[in-house]
């Protein structure tokens, strides 16, 4: 899909894209996310790891406005994000889900076209009357959506209903749909869950290619080999708090991370954890 030469091309720390300060999310007495500070620079791929239940997905939900954080602020390109999904998407943050959430009864192409919704301006009346501006916009929507489908390698299945696609294609379609919102930052929640090593490799290439398009990426994953190969920086969350933050090498060798996962050496440690999560994903 993408030349391996791309891989180590841009860990250039540009300006800060995302800056979350002291984000806390409480559900009654449970503190799911506790004063997490998190930042992403332009062109970076940042990994978010941690055992199941560490609050990774909850943190994503806080970033994307699905949850309103109990306290703390999230800034995107210096501007505070309102905790509303529509506002977050318009600002330029997109995401995918741990358990795929496509619009199953729509075609793959239509799914991507829905993603373009917030970047087109035609109102209800214009779209019913098919005015010239609407037609121009709609044509552009179709073209861009097709371009995105071919970018993720789904050109041939554009007409298929999303629910009929195979698992790996559904994952890629979800990424295409997220990219259709023209994000500057893409949040991927376990993009390789349930994938075999070859598919995981393709996903790695895809994410590098996404960065080449000028999109910063945050990835939640349990597959440590994937994370350490992909990311410029890694943050480890445990019980809603930041345990360690640093380069993959630093995090990989940090004893607290190892302990949080299993309590033995890293290469042995992450494997059972990975497999466990894979099983859960497959069952979900």
């Amino acid at each position: 899909m993408t030349a391996p030469a791309l891989q180590k091309s841009s860990p250039v720390a540009g300006q800060v894209v995302l800056d979350a300060t002291d984000v806390t999310m409480r559900f009654g007495g449970l503190v799911a996310v506790n004063k997490v500070n998190f930042s992403v620079n332009e062109g970076e791929i940042v990994g978010l790891i941690g055992p199941n239940g560490a609050g990774k997905t909850t943190f994503f939900n806080c970033l994307t406005g699905l949850y309103k954080p109990t306290s703390g602020t999230v800034r995107y390109l210096g501007k505070t994000l309102k905790p509303q999904p529509v506002a977050v998407t318009r600002a330029g943050v997109a995401r995918t889900f741990q358990n795929i959430r496509l619009f199953g009864n729509m075609s793959a192409l239509e799914n991507v076209m829905v993603g373009r919704y917030c970047r087109t301006s035609a109102g209800v009346l214009t779209s019913i009357l098919h005015g010239p501006r609407y037609r121009r916009e709609e044509k552009e929507t179709v073209e861009k959506s097709k371009e995105l489908l071919s970018f993720v390698g789904l050109t041939d299945v554009g007409d298929h209903l999303a629910r009929n696609l195979n698992y790996g294609d559904q994952r890629r379609l979800e990424i295409a749909r997220a990219l259709a919102t023209e994000p500057g930052l893409l949040l991927l929640d376990e993009p390789t869950a349930g994938m075999n090593p070859q598919e995981t490799g393709e996903a790695t290439d895809l994410i590098f290619a996404i960065r080449e398009r000028g999109v910063s990426v945050v990835v939640i994953e349990h597959d440590m080999r994937f994370i350490f190969r992909l990311c410029d920086r890694v943050t480890c969350l445990v019980r809603g708090e930041t345990l360690v933050e640093g380069t993959p090498a630093q995090v990989q060798s940090d004893e607290r991370v190892i302990e949080a996962y299993i309590g033995s050496g890293p290469t042995h440690a992450n494997k059972p954890a990975t497999e466990k999560s894979l099983d859960e994903e497959a069952g979900a």
Partner: protein, 296 residues
């Protein structure tokens, strides 16, 4: 030969009644598809449509039954129904968006009673308007009402032709709207997964309002059709018609727009083929005239 004609006659009558149900049923199904709410006040949206139309006629065109008046009556009905539908969403349902299912359902019944009583009590208070506690005659517009058309021995009421063509046009419009426009795509997305739709930048509240407007518009046309078929309207007309249309929507699989259309037609046919076609009394044309949601 006569038996065949009679069967065809019942078919035509049933279809026109069914078209009426179908137009209302779409409103139930669209709203349910988006927010999983059975809007039991939808029958009243239908009734308000008929009354809005009558109101405009009484206020501006009294005693004028020329065809050119008819578009204004249709517009008034659509405006009135959409207005009421949007208002009930804003005032009654939106505050209950995250409440348990039963709360909006009960509220819908409350809204229904409120609207019926509002028309019953206050319609006559408008200066120069008749008291609406009993049935009011609906203007019989030229061309769309009058002598039935004889098609090979089958009498087709002009109002039936209006109702059926309205249904055909509305169904084509709906297909086009849902599948060929950006807003329609957004509606599909919201009905399948509202949270994800939000993350695509879709304003879910606006889509819900559009769903209510869509249902309201079709109910308004059904309201006029009812007025033309039955020659009069009253404040209770929405209750039974609404209930039957709801049945039609369920019959077609609630949430499925084309199902609602088919469900409505089937219900109309079945209802019309029950007692009347087996009873020997009365002329077929007369039965055609009296059939309508408020008959029972």
């Amino acid at each position: 030969m006569q038996a065949v004609e009679q069967l065809l006659q019942q078919l035509v009558n049933g279809l026109s009644l069914g078209a009426l149900y179908a137009l209302i049923a779409v409103g139930y199904t669209v709203v349910y598809g988006i927010i999983q709410l059975i809007n039991f006040a939808h029958g009243e949206v239908f009734m308000i449509g008929a009354f809005s139309s009558l109101t405009v006629w009484l206020a501006l065109f009294k005693d004028n039954t020329a065809l050119w008046v008819f578009p204004f009556m249709i517009l008034a009905a659509i405006g009135g129904s959409m207005g009421v539908a949007v208002l009930m969403e804003r005032v009654a349902y939106r505050p209950l968006r995250n409440a348990p299912r039963l709360a909006p359902l009960i509220t819908a019944i409350g809204v229904s009673v409120f609207l019926q009583e509002a028309v019953r009590l206050f319609y006559g208070d408008i200066p120069g308007f008749p008291d609406a506690t009993q049935a009011l005659p609906f203007p019989q517009i030229d061309v769309v009402t009058g002598t039935p058309i004889n098609v090979a021995g089958v009498l087709v009421q002009r109002s039936s032709i209006f109702t059926l063509s309205a249904l055909v046009i509305c169904t084509i419009f709906l297909y086009y709207f849902i599948n060929r426009t950006k807003t329609g795509r957004a509606m599909q997305a919201v009905s399948q997964d509202p949270d994800t739709a939000r993350l695509m930048g879709i304003n879910v509240d606006r889509i819900i309002v559009i769903a209510f407007m869509l249902g309201g518009g079709l109910a308004a046309i059904a309201g006029i059709a009812h007025g033309l078929i039955n020659t009069n309207i009253d404040f209770r007309m929405g209750f039974l018609a609404g209930l039957k249309a709801f049945t039609a929507a369920v019959l077609g699989g609630i949430g499925n727009i084309y199902g609602a259309v088919v469900g409505g037609l089937v219900l109309g046919l079945v209802e019309n083929h029950g007692p009347p076609s087996t009873s020997p009394a009365g002329s077929v044309a007369a039965r055609g005239k009296t059939c309508g949601p408020s008959r029972s």
